[in-house]
Structure formats: C-alpha cells, structure tokens
C-alpha cells in the first residue's frame, strides 16, 4: 500500500525538530565511539596507561552524554504531539 505523500520541504520549526531527532539518533553512536575509543589508545606492549586519566576521561564523556541528552529531551518530547511525521 502506498503511503500518503508527505511534504518534501518543511517550515522552519518542523525542520529544526527533525534535525534534533537526527542528532538524538546519532548521539548513542557517537557515545559508543567515545566509549570504545580507549581500546585503541595503548597497544598491549606499550607502557601501562594512567588509570586515573582513564577514570576522568570516562566520567567526563559520560557527563557530556547526559547533558546532551538532557538538552535534546525537551525538544524531542515537545515535537511529539505536533508531528506524526516520524521517519523524517
């Protein structure tokens, strides 16, 4: 069955909302990258890593993810009522 056609171009607000969703979708991918990144830092034979540095790094990116998600959340839940235009 053919879906009803959706508008190809949007006004400013719905456009912003969709880009916000894009950002929200990308956030976990970005976060996963940051969390796996340390795997690549030190080759097994190199000098032992500084564990306290790792701790600080991990908690910083964690905090950053939380803040980013907190920044996105109001916009995402606000847009939900307005649009059934789900998958951009």
């Amino acid at each position: 069955m053919k879906r009803p056609r959706r508008p190809m171009f949007l006004a400013r607000d719905p456009y912003r909302r969709r880009r916000l969703r894009d950002a929200a979708r990308l956030l976990p991918v970005f976060g996963a990258f940051l969390m796996i990144l340390p795997v690549l830092w030190s080759p097994p034979d190199a000098a032992p890593r500084v564990t306290s540095g790792d701790v600080v790094y991990f908690f910083l990116i964690w905090l950053m993810l939380v803040l980013a998600a907190a920044g996105f959340a109001p916009g995402l839940s606000a847009g939900e009522d307005a649009g059934k235009d789900e998958d951009d």
Binding site: M1, K2, R3, P4, R21, A24, R25, L27, P28, V29, G31, A32, M35, I36, P38, V39, P44, P48, R49, V50, T51, S52, D54, V55, V56, F58, F59, W62, L63, L65, V66, L67, A68, A69, A70, F72, A73, P74, L76, S77, E80, K84, E86
Partner: protein
C-alpha cells in the same frame, strides 16, 4: 552493633516500605496519584537495574578487573540516550497493545503464539532465578559481615535461615502489593513508588560511603587519583573484545531483563516520562558508579589481605568505626536486593501465570472460562508463581551453597536474557520476522547459552567433568563448551555471547525467511512495526462469528470485574448507536477491542484463546486479510476513478466555456452583419431615392434625365447583385446548394475566369504566368462554381495589385488526390493583421474601403470551396497576395 539492632533497623525499614506502598495504593484507588506518576518516580523505578550485584559487586568487580565494571553502565546509558531508536517504540507498542511482560510482547508480536510465550517464560525463569539467588546471598553475606566485624560480636546467624526469612518476607511483600488487583493495565503503583524510595536510599548510601572514603580517608580528589594510580587496580588490562562485548551485552540486557521490561514498558504511565528518563537514568547510573573506583582502591589499601572486595562498601566503614554509615550502606544493599527481587518476581510471575498456568487451566477445564471467577484464578496463579519463583531462588541458593560461583551469575543472566534481543528488535522493526523463526532463534540461543556458559559456570566436575570441558563431548574438539568451532581466543563470557547470539540470529533469520506467517501473525507484525503510523489502519482481527454478546459479557466480567466489564460493554453499545441496550453487537472492531482489554490482564495469547473459544474459532483468515487489502485497493481505485471523472468534468467545462465564447462571438458577428447589411443596402437606396426625386420634379434637361436614369439603373443593379450575393451566401452557408457535378477541364475553367475578370480595371495590362500542361487535368466537380471562385480570386488580384508591372501567377499541383490551385500576384499583399479576417463577410482591407465590392467575395469563395469539399487559405510569404485552393480531384455527390 548488636544483631538485634540490625534486625530492628531492617524491620523498621521494611515496615516503612510497606506503609509507603500501602498509602500509594490507597491514593491510586482514589485516583489521586498526582506527582507519584511523575517522570522522577519513573526514572527512579528504573534504578532496579542496579541490584545488590551493583551495590556490593561493582566494587569487587573494580577491585578485580579495573574499569571494566563501567561497561555494565555504559550500555544502558547508550540505550537511554538513544531512546528515539528503540525505547520509544517499545513503550508505544507496550501501551498500545497492553503488553504485560516481555514474554507477552514476543508472543503477541508473533501471532499471539503461546508457544513463544512459554519459551520466553522458561528462558527468563532459568536465566534469572540464579540472579535472585544472588540477591539473597548478598543479604546473607551482609548480615554475616556485621556479625563478624562487630567487636561485641554476636553469633553469626545461620545463613540458610537468613535466606529463608528474607525470601519469605519478600514473597509476602510482593504477593500483597503485586497481586492486589488485576488491573486492565498491569501496573503496580505501590510497588513502583516503594522501589523509587529504595532507589533513593541506595543512591544516598553509596554516595555517603563514597564521600566518606574520598574526603574522609583518601584526603580529597587529587589524592584519590594518585592512590588510584598507585594501587593494584592500575594494572588492569583493557581487553578490546571483552570491553566491546560487555558494552553490547549490558545495552541488550537493559531492555531484555524481565524486571527492566516491567518497569520500563509495563509500568510506564506516560510516554513523556521516557524523555526525562533518557538523561536522568544515565545520570543516576553515573552517580551510582562515581565512587566505585575510590572505594575499591581504598579498600584494597586499608583492609587486610584476603578481605572480600564484594563487601568493601560495608567493611570499609565498619573497620573505620563508622557504625552509622555502615548501617546506611547495609540498608542500601538491602534496598538494592529487595527491589530487584520484588520486581523480578512480579515480572516472572506474570509470565508464568499468563503463559503457563492459565493456558493449562483453560485447557484442562475449558468450561471454567464461563463459570468460575477467573479473576481469582489469575490472582492465585500469580501468587503461587511469586511463591514458586522465590522458592526457586532460595532453592538455587541452597543448592549452590552460597558459593563464589554465584558472583559471576550476573553477567551469565545477562547473556541469557540477551537471547530475547533478536526476536524483540526484529519483531518491532522487521515485518518479515515469523513465529517459527523466533522460536528457532530463541531455542538455539538458549541451548548454546546453557551449553557454553550456564552449565560450565558451576565449575569443573559440577555438571561437566573437567575432561568434558577440556576435550569436548566424546572428544570432539569442535564442540568444547568454551571453544565452540575451535574459537579459543575469547574469554568464556564473550565466547558464549558471541556464539549464542550469532547462532540465535542466524536461526531466527533463516527460519523467518523460509516460513510463511499466518494471518494473525501478519496483522500483529504490521501493527507492531508500523505502530507510529497513524495511517496504519487497525484491521479487524476477527471476522463476524457467532459469539453471543451475553456470553462475552459474562467472560469479561470474570476477568475484568463486573463494573469495568459492564462499562466497557455499555460504551461499546453506545458507540454502535444502541442507546437502549447494554449489549453491543459482536462486531470485529468490538471483539478486537475487548481482546485488547483482556490481554492487559491475562496476556495476549490467553485473551486470544478465550475469545476464540466463544467466537467459535472464527478468527481472521488469509482470505479476510486479502479482503481487507482488496477493500483498500478498491478504495484507491475508486479515488482514482473520482480523479479521472474530475478531470473529465474540467475538460467538459473547458469545452463549454469555449462554446460559450464562440456563441458570444457569433452573436456579435450577427449584429455586425445586420448593421453592415443595412448600411450596404442604404447607400444605393439613398442615391436611387435622390435621383428619382430629381426625376419627378420634371423640367429637366434631357441629358440630366438620362444621367439620372443611368445612376438609378446602376444602383439598382448593384443592389440586385448584393442581394444575389447574400442569397447565394446564405444558400451556401446552409449547405443547401445544389451542385451540378460533372467532369470539366481545369484549363478551360481558368481561361474562362481570366476572360471574365478582364472587365475589372481593363486599363491595366496583366501578365499571366501559367503552366498549361499542368492545368490540363479533368476534375469531377461543379465547374461553374469553381470558375466563380477563380473569377473572384483573379478579379481581386486585378483590383488590388498595385505593382508597376502587375503579374498573376497560377500554379497547379496534384497532391494526395487533391488539386492544389495557387493564385498569386506580385502586389504588396495583405497586411498580417488582416489576414485572419479576409474570409469574413463584409471585410474590406483598411485602405481599400471605397472599393466597389461589398466585401462578400472571399466569404462566398470560402463557402463554395467548402461545398466542393476543399479548403481555401491565404498563402503568406509569396511576394504578394496569394491564395491556395485545394480541392478533391473527384468530388463524390453528397449522400444527402
């Protein structure tokens, strides 16, 4: 600290929880939940992810494996931060389909198959029972710590006994608040609030211990970081495979664990809460893990060699003489354990009662669905299941003897429940996933998990012999439980995770691709995958059956309760426009609505089975599905037809508009024609009148009389000619002309025409260019009429050609059975804007207005040519005025 104080504190805490749950339930009954349904409570209830395994175990984990424990919290962080991908859809589906558990979700998605419900239930019970045992163990251990560490000392209570007491207490609490009512939607506000309180307690406890350790013992943040680097923990080794694997595993577990699914989806009262939880829950996890590393480091540093790192959270404050802090930590650990056990027990009990007990009960006594109070049966089934789950947990603890093997069970359970992931994710994103595929995948994953991870976890010689582990069954190396297919490079956990999910997903995919889903399955698949699509119609799940509305009501009352069922039926009856009756017709819409309400209480599969019993098994068939599809196809076709008709109408309207314009134009033309004709008639009449008046006066010189007589005669002739022309034109225009058709030579006609036209401006000598040979053809036409046309054209040329050496060129060609006659002069031609009107009546060229004719010549020519079956047109671009007459060589006599 005396044992009694400890027990007293525990009891006081439990009573506090009881009263919280009780008060909230009372408020919920009164419908005054208010802030208790806030995103905050929702987020806090999610914290049951952090069990005693987190509270105590994370420190031990950190002490043993460094920062690897972080992966257990990173996975859920990613899932929640990315809630727009999966969680949002899960929650929406859960609310829309009144899902009661993860088993219900999977069973409902794959055609309400109870087989899948049973498989998922069994897997969940097997995977999480040891996990419950782990919680019991942690409580027992923490009691033991207090017993041994206090200077005044008390005899450590019998571990077995403690475990029994804890399990029984939890069973009582869970039974009371978990099975109070059989809500249409399976929500337990009292319990949710209680675990939210517990979430606060455990967070505060862990933070308090952490703050004490960092600022009380280590001496600030900087010093703590230095001690981290100095401790043995710094030597940890990040294994890339295990790190990534655990990250993935914890992400999968946070949505697949039955208790997480319970609080995340089933207990969700507002989808908007998810937006807050998306950042607040990761923030909670962050706070919970903030002090894990410092506690582990300082514990390793300060506590004697060989102290159990799993208990550092308790032993560290105790050894520093902080009894109060240790008490708080104890309560935190107690909270973690109890909240996990309570929710897990409810989730498992819902699954067991809905997917195992109820179907068996209905199967054994089919008539019962109509007669007995099913609510009681369901509630009792659930109570029994809660008891059984906790008994199993205790039994497992008892059998394993509280051994160290339990410590690893957390991750093992994670891998077990992660087997739900392929069926669940594919189920909500892929319409092609089928029941058989899901069953194959689940069973495959479960078997591999049990074989490669669960059974070996009991240690060598417990289930497998050491030889079996090392060499594989019957010495088949490829089947070694911890090195399947020769993969030896992975640690056992990653290995099992990898192979179980790999084979699970493969079996699932192959099974799905090769099988054909049943109709209900396809309906559910579409409804789940397109849950956000408002367009997605909710197609009927039932065709008209022979269900008696009264029987349906009786059954609904048994499950929903009298009031709820009656108001549901009444609303449906009103919606159907039956104001006087309480019983609605059993339409497909009503049946599927009723089924959805029932499934909120007893699960989709059971609800479906119960309704099919009454409807006589007349569920939807493939034919019905196709009918629905063709209905919508018809709709589309109908609208296409409408569209076509609309176009046709607009075309017709356009044609009408054109016709109207033409009519208006004709009317104007007619008016012009009349006024012109009056004018043309009036001019000769005026001169006739004037000269005849002169004649009547008498006494005129004879010359004058003669002159006047001639003028009168001329004008009368002109009048006659004009009237002749008009008559001729009218006859021609009406098509009533009688043609005398015969064979005639074109050259003769042209000769005659040139001769006849010579009297026009005889003083001018014209040169004629002709091709006599080409002219020598015979036409079957009306020769006199055609000659008339030629005379007219040639006279016009003679009249209007203003060249110094005037020429007239006549060319004849034969083309496709038609004779084409061009008559051209070498004058200045006809101006472009006049070209389109020269064939109209009374048209004269602007500068030739005083020429003799009335402007009817070309109009008559056109009518004649049309009557002869040809066309006449002005031929531009010939260096002068040129006309082209095209005629059929042989004109057939008109049929009329």
């Amino acid at each position: 600290m005396p044992f009694n104080v400890l027990v007293l504190a525990c009891l006081a805490y439990v009573i506090f929880l009881f009263s919280v749950a009780f008060l909230v339930e009372r408020r919920a009954m009164a419908g005054r939940l208010g802030w208790l349904r806030s995103p905050l409570v929702y987020t806090l209830s999610l914290s049951i992810y952090c069990t005693a395994w987190t509270f105590y175990g994370a420190v031990g984990y950190a002490a043993r494996s460094g920062l690897e424990f972080l992966t257990i919290y990173f996975g859920p962080t990613l899932v929640f931060v990315g809630w727009w991908w999966v969680l949002r859809k899960l929650v929406r589906i859960g609310r829309q389909h009144r899902v009661t558990s993860i088993a219900d979700l999977i069973s409902s998605r794959f055609g309400k198959s109870n087989l899948l419900g049973v498989i998922v239930t069994v897997m969940a019970v097997v995977a999480t029972t040891p996990y419950i045992a782990l919680q019991l163990q942690s409580v027992v251990l923490s009691f033991g710590v207090f017993a041994s560490a206090t200077p005044d000392g008390f005899t450590p209570p019998d571990a077995e006994q403690t475990a029994i007491w804890v399990a029984a207490g939890l069973a009582v609490f869970t039974t009371i608040f978990g099975t109070r009512n059989l809500d249409a939607k399976e929500q337990h506000h009292g319990i949710v609030t209680a675990i939210a309180v517990e979430a606060v307690v455990k967070l505060v406890a862990l933070l308090a211990v952490g703050i004490f350790v960092v600022w009380g013992l280590a001496g600030g943040i900087g010093a703590t970081l230095e001690r981290i680097d100095a401790s043995g923990l710094a030597a940890w080794d990040m294994q890339p495979g295990r790190w990534t694997g655990l990250l993935f595993l914890s992400a999968a577990a946070v949505i697949c664990l039955p208790r997480m699914f319970q609080v995340l989806v089933v207990e969700n009262s507002d989808e908007g809460h998810l937006a807050t939880a998306s950042w607040a829950f990761p923030a909670y996890l962050l706070a919970m893990s903030l002090f894990i590393v410092p506690i582990a480091v300082i514990g390793l540093d300060r506590l004697p060699e060989g102290a159990n790192p799993d208990m550092f959270v308790l032993t560290l404050p105790l050894s520093e003489g902080q009894g109060g802090l240790a008490m708080l930590a104890f309560l935190g650990g107690f909270s973690s354990a109890t909240s996990m056990v309570i929710v897990e027990a409810i989730a498992l009990a819902t699954m067991v009662s809905n997917h195992i007990v109820m179907p068996v009960w209905l199967w054994l006594r089919p008539a019962v669905a109509m007669s007995a109070d099913l609510r009681g049966v369901v509630l009792n089934a659930r109570r029994l299941s809660i008891g059984a789950v906790l008994a199993m947990g205790y039994g497992y603890y008892h059998l394993s003897g509280g051994s160290a093997a339990l410590a690893a069970i957390g991750l093992i359970a994670f891998v077990g429940v992660a087997q739900f992931l392929p069926a669940m994710i594919a189920g909500i994103f892929w319409r092609g996933a089928t029941r058989i595929g899901a069953a194959l995948g689940l069973v495959t994953g479960f078997v591999v998990w049990a074989y490669a991870l669960f059974l070996p976890s009991f240690g060598p010689d417990a289930v497998y012999s050491a030889q079996f582990l090392a060499e594989g069954p019957m010495a088949i190396g490829w089947l070694r439980p911890q090195a399947l297919f020769g993969v030896e490079a992975m640690d056992p956990l990653t290995h099992a995770l990898f192979w179980s999910l790999m084979l699970n997903a493969t079996a699932f995919f192959i099974g799905s691709v090769l099988t054909f889903p049943g109709p209900v399955e396809r309906l559910q698949g579409a409804a789940f995958v397109n849950v956000f699509d408002d367009q997605a119609t909710d197609p009927r799940r039932w065709s008209h059956g022979q269900a008696e509305p009264e029987q349906l009501l009786v059954m609904a009352q048994r499950i929903l309760g009298d009031d709820a069922a009656q108001s549901l039926f009444e609303a449906a009856a009103q919606a159907q426009g039956k104001s006087d009756s309480l019983l609605p017709d059993p339409t497909p819409e009503f049946l599927s609505d009723l089924e959805r309400r029932l499934s909120g209480s007893v699960g989709a599969a059971t609800a479906h089975a119960m309704i099919s019993q009454l409807v006589g098994g007349a569920t939807v068939s493939v034919e019905d599905l196709m009918a629905v599809a063709s209905e919508s196809a018809q709709m589309m076709e109908y609208s296409a037809q409408l569209e076509a008709q609309r176009e046709k109408l607009s075309r017709t309207a356009g044609a009408l508009r054109e016709a109207n314009e033409k009519l208006t134009r004709l009317s104007v033309q007619k008016d012009t024609f009349l006024s012109q004709i009056s004018h043309e008639l009036r001019t000769p009449m005026t001169s006739i009148r004037a000269f005849s008046e002169i004649l009547t006066e008498g006494d005129l010189p004879p010359g004058m009389v003669t002159k006047s007589g001639r003028v009168i005669q001329d004008e009368a002739k002109r009048l006659t000619r004009l009237l002749d022309d008009l008559l001729d034109l009218s006859v021609l225009e009406n098509g009533k002309v009688s043609l005398s058709i015969s064979l005639a030579n074109l050259r003769e006609m042209i000769d005659r025409a040139i001769q006849a036209a010579e009297q026009v401006k005889p003083e001018r000598g014209f040169t004629f260019h002709r091709d006599l040979a080409a002219e020598n053809i015979f036409l079957r036409t009306d020769a006199d009429r055609l000659t008339q046309v030629l005379i007219n054209l040639i006279s016009n040329a003679r009249k209007y050609c203003d060249a110094k050496h005037p020429e007239i060129r006549i060319t004849i060609r034969i083309k496709a059975g038609r004779a084409v006659i061009d008559v051209a002069d070498n004058g200045k031609g006809i101006p472009k804007d006049a070209q389109s009107t020269i064939f109209e009546k009374f048209t004269r060229l602007p500068n030739e207005s005083r020429a003799k004719g009335a402007g009817l010549g070309l109009a008559i020519c056109r009518e004649i040519v049309v009557n002869l079956g040809g066309t006449i047109a002005y031929l531009p671009g010939q260096g002068g005025a040129a006309f082209r007459v095209s005629l059929p060589l042989r004109l057939e006599a008109k049929a009329a």
